[in-house]
Symmetry: C2
Amino acid sequence: MRSLQIFALDGVGEINRGDDLVEVFFNALDAGSHRLEHRDVVIVTSKVISKSEGRVVDFDGTDEHRERLIAQESTRILRRRGPLRITETPHGFVNANAGIDQSNTADGTAVLLPRDPDRSARRFRGDVARRRGVDVGVVVTDTFGRAWRNGVADVALGCAGVRPILDLRGTRDAMGRLLEVTEVAIVDEIAAAANLVLAKDAGTPFAVIRGLSDDYFGEGSIAEHVVRAPHGDLFR
Amino acid sequence: MRSLQIFALDGVGEINRGDDLVEVFFNALDAGSHRLEHRDVVIVTSKVISKSEGRVVDFDGTDEHRERLIAQESTRILRRRGPLRITETPHGFVNANAGIDQSNTADGTAVLLPRDPDRSARRFRGDVARRRGVDVGVVVTDTFGRAWRNGVADVALGCAGVRPILDLRGTRDAMGRLLEVTEVAIVDEIAAAANLVLAKDAGTPFAVIRGLSDDYFGEGSIAEHVVRAPHGDLFR
């Protein structure tokens, strides 16, 4: 039986610039009497990455200020409707309002996306290995809207130690034919799965997934492997 | 601690028109010594729904035949590139080649999407309740490409007993402000999570998720709640 376990960590307080996120994570882990295992995947919401990295700005809540922040945090606006902008960010993400977020941050402030979420994930992973001697994968997540379907879902903005795309090319189906659908964005499926335990409580920025297949682990980044190049994209 | 468990069921053979899928599911469950629990969610791939409902057609593998099938199974073509068509289906799904699938089906055939995957899910759920007295949620899944991001991921085509969209409107953040992002497509996150145990083995059409929050259960359908109306869609 292939079986996964996913759990959220409780008891994480407010995160501020310069906080040692890995220490906060270890404290939450220990407080819940959890042990980290080799090949666990740790999910970290981008919001606490941003806060610890000082990506919080003053924001007066006006449309004018939002427009200025969106202009600063995006490279292109794909669509407009009312105050909503569908933006392309410097990372190549397509999202709403450049990912600028007013929830769960101090009044008069907004949280911006991390500058390089893959790097943040690599750093987190390296720190976990150094301090606890455990080799985990790390996925930095955020909540995005989607084309064609209602509702938001979590996706990966950065990763480390995880293969973002599982390449099944060369795999044969039960009838012995080569599979047509060959590249599965498992890193986004990991992000979505973690949100099932995180969605209802914005105060919980960490989840752990245990039991993922060995071949989900390896090298790769969101920037290089998941972001679709604009020129190859039918919907930009 | 909020914690989820996800497991796949092994030992499911080929499914044919008229097969009793719920019996096949029970047999796989019993063979693996699993017990179904109240408020488990059962994930069923759309391919076995289609096969059991006879949605398999002759297909000679030529581009001409594919074009004819796509024309028959779609209401609109949004984009074209080489042999790829991004289609809108009668259900309102936006996908590649109207979801017509040649993998894991007999040579010379292709599998079409179920006509009404919400109805298929409701029927499956009703049968489970009748025969085993257990109230489960059911999600019928398929693998779709996405705009802006490489790789495919599983989404929900139909559901029963599960709230497809978790509405957090009225929920306040840790600072006491109303949340901005309010509607989470948990049904698609369930589909994605299940694919983490299903992706590598197309012979396994069933997974079970245990431990989902009570308020993820309720009424709703993919057709009504998840499919975005074309006129409100910025990318159609």
